[in-house]
Subunit: 173 residues, 2 copies
DNA sequence: GTTCATGTGTTACTACATAACAAATCTGGT
DNA sequence: ACCAGATTTGTTATGTAGTAACACATGAAC
């Protein structure tokens, strides 16, 4: 596995892997990030973050809510959305606007430029951090006198894994 | 007004201008685009397109519905969404995912690469068509074996007009 | 004018997100 | 330990966005 590419914050989960490591790694980084910024990673927030990291697919807020509701009696939409807002503010999760869904950030300490690749086949999401690309967007905007605050790039396509071994949908049962 | 920049498909409406010209021009182009592709620009679809072009701000589907409901008794969500779906398929309007809103496309015949500048002050939206930028995104994705189908870039910031004459919000009445 | 495709009306529903206020919990100072 | 203020969570209700399914109407093609 090529881990040398420093522009990939979150890679596609191609094939089998020890996803427990993904999760535990993410949780460890989350603890650090919160401690560093003096924010509190409460059990609820921690649990929501775990659920977002449940797979490499983007996760819907109401899916998190459904699972949370099985674990604790008291779980309503604000419960989840507040936790997600917090996690976003610390940079631990990102919201994919085109999907109304959330993904965990692989490198919360690194600057997030909001570049996402979304596979239309398997639904997985990768996150990039290509500073040159961000710079290019900035320049293009500035030629119009536009001062960029935040840039979001969401690219739909087909990931390598799905290109090499395409998913063939069988007939409905 | 600098109209020489061929990468700007839809500019910010800085200051006063004859917006009737914007609308009539857009409608004329819409007629052409539909005729060219053999699609039918029915009165309903035409009216929805006019409403989307009502201002240079992105327009919400339910706002269109509210106005439409005053004009014709029969107007429900599907009425608007179907018209918007059609207009999108012809390239006459674009959906801004981060706003859940729609804007008219200034150049429906040109290829749409989905590059938008969104002013957080005045809410106006400009559309760019920077092929080099699109190419850059494509290359960045392809290095990961990702085959791009559609790329959406939504940049938040402050437009020139709002930077030079910032809007100061007065106290609530 | 019959046929078939396309477009529209209508009802009902699902999904996504936030407002507002109450209760609980944590924090720092005494 | 105690209190006061801030933060977090519970709770109820509501607002906002989008779609499924089917009936009916309209248009073009033959
Ligand atoms: Zn994993
Ligand atoms: Zn895939
Ligand atoms: Zn105008
Ligand atoms: Zn502005």
């Amino acid at each position: 596995m090529n881990t040398a590419d420093h522009t990939v914050l979150r890679r596609f989960a191609n094939g089998v892997h020890d996803h427990g490591r993904c999760v535990s790694g993410a949780m460890a980084k989350a603890e650090l990030a919160c401690a560093a910024s003096g924010r509190r990673l409460t059990p609820l927030r921690r649990r929501v973050l775990e659920l977002v990291w449940g797979s490499h697919l983007p996760v819907k807020a109401y899916d998190v809510l459904a699972i949370l509701g099985q674990e604790r009696a008291q779980a309503a939409p604000p419960t989840v959305y507040r936790a997600l807002d917090f996690l976003q503010s610390v940079g631990l999760v990102h919201r994919i606007a085109s999907l109304n869904a959330f993904v965990g950030c692989g490198e919360p300490q690194r600057g997030h430029v909001g570049q996402f690749l979304i596979c239309t086949q398997c639904g997985a999401v990768a996150e990039l951090a290509d500073p040159a690309l961000a710079q290019r967007v900035r320049r293009s905007a500035e030629r119009l006198g536009f001062a960029v605050q935040r840039e979001t790039i969401e690219v739909e396509g087909v990931c390598r894994s799905c290109r090499t071994s395409p998913v063939v949908l069988g007939p409905s049962p």
